[in-house]
């Protein structure tokens, strides 16, 4: 059965772990991957008599998120969300309820679609349970181990309006949101480590009709799962409706391996959280001059940075846009801009940054990258040679690219050697040469390959083509 005649309606709730040095309400280290239960104290273990004290840096990051999402930053309050769960040490979560820090914003997707942001509020994370037993879930587990290192880690929950209409669009929203959160320094954006956790509210309807009954899919931990889960869930709901059945409002989980969603708990089992104002904390009222200071220190956001690069390249074709998106996503735009300002062609710098640089392997310094691109542009280095030089600069970022080229044996090919080599290649491949002369331009690539092989990659591809064209007459 298809989705024909139906529209999917999606709203996302994204939990973002803030990259602070310490936790939200105590001085314990906020770090992923440490030995279990080593970053804990009376406060984040919820021991009797302990009290929370709000981390100012976490508030600053939350405000940055609010400003980046065009929200109104307001005086706010913390509430207690009460429910029993073993990985939540106090059996309540300190969260924001009816007075969130950030309210009413928007996020513009790269294609220009604007998605409404309902709110972006602060809360504390829970500990992490590991259930030993067949199912891997709490029911049926033989033993459960709890690591409270994550307990009290600061989170911001970003709630969107139900403005998305497809899994692809939801994925684009999550990707753009991730880029924004990383740009403002709020998170490292590592979904697989749980730095960003996504819940999706999905419903279907006939266009123009009121919203359908929604289901919430919990804890999607990759962009791919997000898209797949939404597409599966929408189809499931359409199938039910087409079969004349009702959709039950419920919370569902996504089974990545099976590629489908399943029931976690129904609306009837929903908790009554008994929210009330957290009496251990005072209202959070950011001072005006602090807000102004934060606003003044806001970095350029991904959308602006992409536009800056496109302007620099003077192009807006899809291929360039894709390269630009890659470069900005990897925070490589400052290198491209520096190279361009130093005189290298923007398009070439963009292509090399997008395809050759890898932050995990190491990045060249700005001047070294700029110089390498410039050497390639002037024909001093071939494309192959330039890429090899960039490879070396990954581990020796400030080395002089010309020295590196020399070290790699990339002396510049003399014109004589190049012409002799081309002549030899043409002589060795008379059939191809004849076809090329008859207008089969594709063969240029064949000759470049041969010349490159003969010169061990030292030849400049453009110079080879120029010579071929000249000889064809």
């Amino acid at each position: 059965m298809s989705m024909e005649g139906y529209e999917t309606v999606i709203g996302l709730e994204v939990h973002c772990e803030l990259k602070t040095a310490s936790k939200l309400f105590c001085g314990c280290r906020n770090a992923f991957g440490d030995a279990p239960n080593t970053n804990v104290c009376p406060v984040c273990l919820g021991l009797p008599g302990s009290l929370p004290v709000l981390n100012r840096h976490a508030v600053e990051l939350a405000i940055r998120i609010g400003l980046a999402l065009n929200c109104a930053v307001k005086p706010s309050n913390f509430h207690r969300k009460n429910y029993f769960y073993p990985d939540m040490p106090k059996d309540y979560q300190i969260s924001q309820y009816d007075e969130p820090l950030n309210e009413g914003g928007s996020l513009e997707l790269p294609d220009g679609t604007v998605i409404g942001i309902t709110r972006a509020h602060m809360e504390e994370d829970t500990g992490k349970s590991t259930h030993l037993g067949s199912s891997g879930r709490i029911h049926g587990a033989e033993n459960s181990l709890i690591d409270y290192n994550r307990s009290g880690v600061p989170l911001v929950e970003i709630v969107s309006e139900p403005d998305m209409r497809s899994g692809v669009q939801a994925r684009a929203y999550a990707a753009e949101l991730r880029a924004i959160l990383m740009a403002v320094g709020a998170t490292d954006g590592r979904l697989e480590e749980g730095s960003m956790r996504i819940d999706a509210n999905v419903s279907v309807r006939k266009p123009g009709k009121p919203f359908g009954t929604r289901c919430e899919i919990k804890n999607l931990n990759s962009l791919r799962s997000l898209q797949r889960a939404i597409e599966y869930e929408a189809q499931r709901q359409v199938n039910l409706l087409e079969a004349g059945e009702r959709i039950a409002q419920e919370t569902r989980h996504w089974d990545e391996a099976a590629g489908r969603t399943g029931t976690m708990r129904s609306k009837e089992e929903a908790y009554d959280y008994r929210y009330f104002p957290e009496p251990d904390l005072v209202p959070l009222v950011p001072e005006e001059d602090w807000l102004a200071e934060i606003a003044a220190s806001m970095p350029a956001l991904p959308k602006q940075r992409r536009q800056n690069l496109l302007d620099l390249c003077g192009a807006d074709d899809q291929a360039t846009k894709d390269l630009v998106a890659t470069v900005v996503d990897r925070d490589l735009d400052p290198l491209v801009i520096e190279a361009t300002l130093a005189g290298a062609p923007a398009a070439l710098a963009l292509a090399r940054a997008a395809n050759e640089l890898d932050a995990t392997a190491g990045l060249p310094s700005g001047p070294s990258f700029a110089r390498t691109v410039a050497l390639e542009a002037s024909g001093t280095l071939s494309a192959t040679q330039a890429k090899a030089v960039l490879g070396v600069l990954a581990t020796r970022p400030t080395d002089d690219p010309e020295a590196v080229a020399k070290e790699l044996g990339f002396e510049q090919l003399s014109d004589d050697t190049l012409l002799t080599t081309i002549a030899a290649v043409l002589e060795a491949n008379p059939e191809e040469w004849a076809r090329y002369r008859d207008g089969d331009d594709k063969l240029a690539q064949f000759f470049i390959g041969k010349v490159m092989a003969a010169t061990k990659g030292k030849a400049n591809g453009k110079a080879v083509v120029a010579e071929l064209v000249a000889r064809r007459g």
């Binding site: 009797p48 009496p279 904390l281």
Partner: protein, 473 residues
């Protein structure tokens, strides 16, 4: 009975050794605490070591803290590092906190010798100390009478002459009521003057630690030691403290004392008579008496018995058997939580958890918790208005003298009514003191209560000093 001030001075001058003072305290306890049961646990070894350190410091002429060598008792809801802290509950039996509360740290720093942890109504919920899971405390003036509660053990320890100074906590009268029943001074300071860090929470927005002493001057001295800003408590007041000791000698000349019928309404005739005599003492000392009506105070009891249980229902959620205290093993976590809490909590604690859970539930929140919060604001405003025309309010601490064991156990409402006059100060966050003022027809002690505006604990002490001097012998 020697006061804390006299003891500290004698030890400092070398007339008494701290070790002999501590030995005397433990001798008195072992002689009489079998019948009184003020203490749940004693810390003799640590106390004797600490006393020896004080004596060594005296011998060396080293600087001494203001309470050096003074034996002190702590209500067993104040966290002491490595020393069992039970809240008189089976659910915390055997739990040893890994940290000292702020008040405990400040007492240690002042040279005080902590001799033991005192009995209380379980989790400070009660007015008689009959709700202790480890048996009641008896009133040293008449062993057939209750000492009041919830800090009954701390009041009895001072009244029996075991220690000159003890600390309790006051959520709705839990210091002032037992102070009145046992004939000691009991001060509930302004909310935020004494850090709650390390005080096991009952109702966070109302709880406040305070001293029991035999003299008003000792109460002032203990405030000098423990009051003041604590960065570990977000609700702690970050301002300079008033001059507590300086207030003692100011007298009441020119002070306007509001004699408040609403703090007498329903009091037994012998209690009302003593309050009238107290007013006369103040008038004779130069104060002007003003009749003040604050009818809103009557609403306090109902508001309190919604707000305090609501907060308690959340504060006591953490006793779930997962991390500390009692655990009743069961096959799954929900059954374990339920069995642990069923076995671990006493009847009154369960009653208040249920009351509070109900008051916060969806659909009832506005009618109960919401309305109670509005009532709290109403009472605060009513007191503010009263303090426009008077400096302090005078009334009874309790409607009657100490009652007999079992008299009110079967009727929680009559027990709750004992707190009628003390609750308004907790709801407003204001200071109030109970000063012994003669006895009733049954020869049991009577306390009169002085209420002052927020942060004016010095005014309470100032008036109390005059009442103390003029009290019937």
């Amino acid at each position: 009975m020697t006061t804390a001030i006299e003891l500290a001075a004698a030890i400092k001058r070398g007339e008494r050794s701290a070790v002999s003072v501590a030995e005397e305290a433990f001798a008195a306890i072992s002689a009489r605490d079998g019948e009184i049961h003020a203490f749940l646990s004693l810390g003799q070894d640590h106390a004797m070591e600490a006393a020896a350190r004080v004596d060594a410091a005296v011998a060396q002429g080293a600087p001494l803290g203001p309470l050096a060598g003074v034996p002190v008792a702590l209500k067993d809801n104040m966290c002491t590092k490595g020393w069992e802290t039970t809240c008189a509950s089976k659910i915390l039996e055997g739990w040893k906190p890994p940290y000292d509360g702020t008040v405990v740290e400040r007492l240690h720093a002042a040279g005080a010798i902590v001799v033991g942890k005192t009995n209380l109504d379980e989790f400070a919920m009660g007015s008689s100390t009959e709700n202790s899971a480890f048996g009641p405390t008896r009133n040293p003036h008449d062993l057939t009478k209750v000492p009041g509660g919830s800090s009954g053990g701390s009041a009895a320890a001072v009244a029996a002459g075991f220690v000159p100074l003890s600390f309790g906590s006051d959520t709705g009268g839990s210091i002032r009521l037992p102070a009145a029943y046992c004939g000691t001074v009991g001060l509930k300071p302004s909310y935020g003057f004494i850090s709650r860090y390390g005080l096991v929470a009952f109702a966070s927005s109302l709880d406040q630690i305070g001293p029991f002493t035999t003299t008003v001057a000792d109460a002032a001295l203990s405030m000098e030691v423990v009051a003041g800003y604590d960065p570990k408590d977000a609700t702690s007041i970050n301002e300079a403290m008033p001059d507590f000791t300086g207030a003692l000698s100011k007298g009441v000349e020119g002070l306007k004392v509001g004699v408040c019928a609403d703090l007498l309404d329903g009091a037994a005739p012998d209690v009302a008579r003593r309050v009238a005599e107290a007013a006369a003492v103040l008038e004779a000392a130069g104060a002007t008496l003003v009749e003040v009506a604050v009818p809103e105070l009557k609403l306090g009891l109902s508001a309190y018995y919604l707000l305090a249980p609501a907060e308690a229902s959340s504060n006591l959620a953490r006793y779930d058997g997962v991390r500390f205290g009692l655990r009743e093993e069961r096959d799954d976590v929900v059954a374990m939580n339920t069995a642990t809490r069923t076995a671990g909590f006493g009847a009154e604690v369960k009653r208040r958890i249920m009351l509070g859970t109900y008051a916060l539930s969806a659909g009832y929140y506005d009618a109960y918790y919401g309305k109670a919060q509005k009532t709290r604001t109403l009472i605060l405003h009513a007191l503010d208005r009263a303090y426009e025309s008077v400096d302090v309010l005078l009334g009874a601490t309790t409607p009657t003298t100490a009652f007999g064991f079992g008299d009110k156990v079967a009727d929680p409402m009559s027990m709750y009514l004992s707190d009628l006059f003390t609750i308004p100060s907790n709801l407003a966050g204001h200071p109030a003191i109970s000063v012994p003022f003669g006895t009733g027809d049954d020869a049991m002690p009577i306390g009169v209560q002085v209420l002052a505006p927020g942060k004016r604990d010095d005014l309470c002490l100032q008036v109390a000093a005059v009442l103390e001097a003029g009290a019937p012998r």
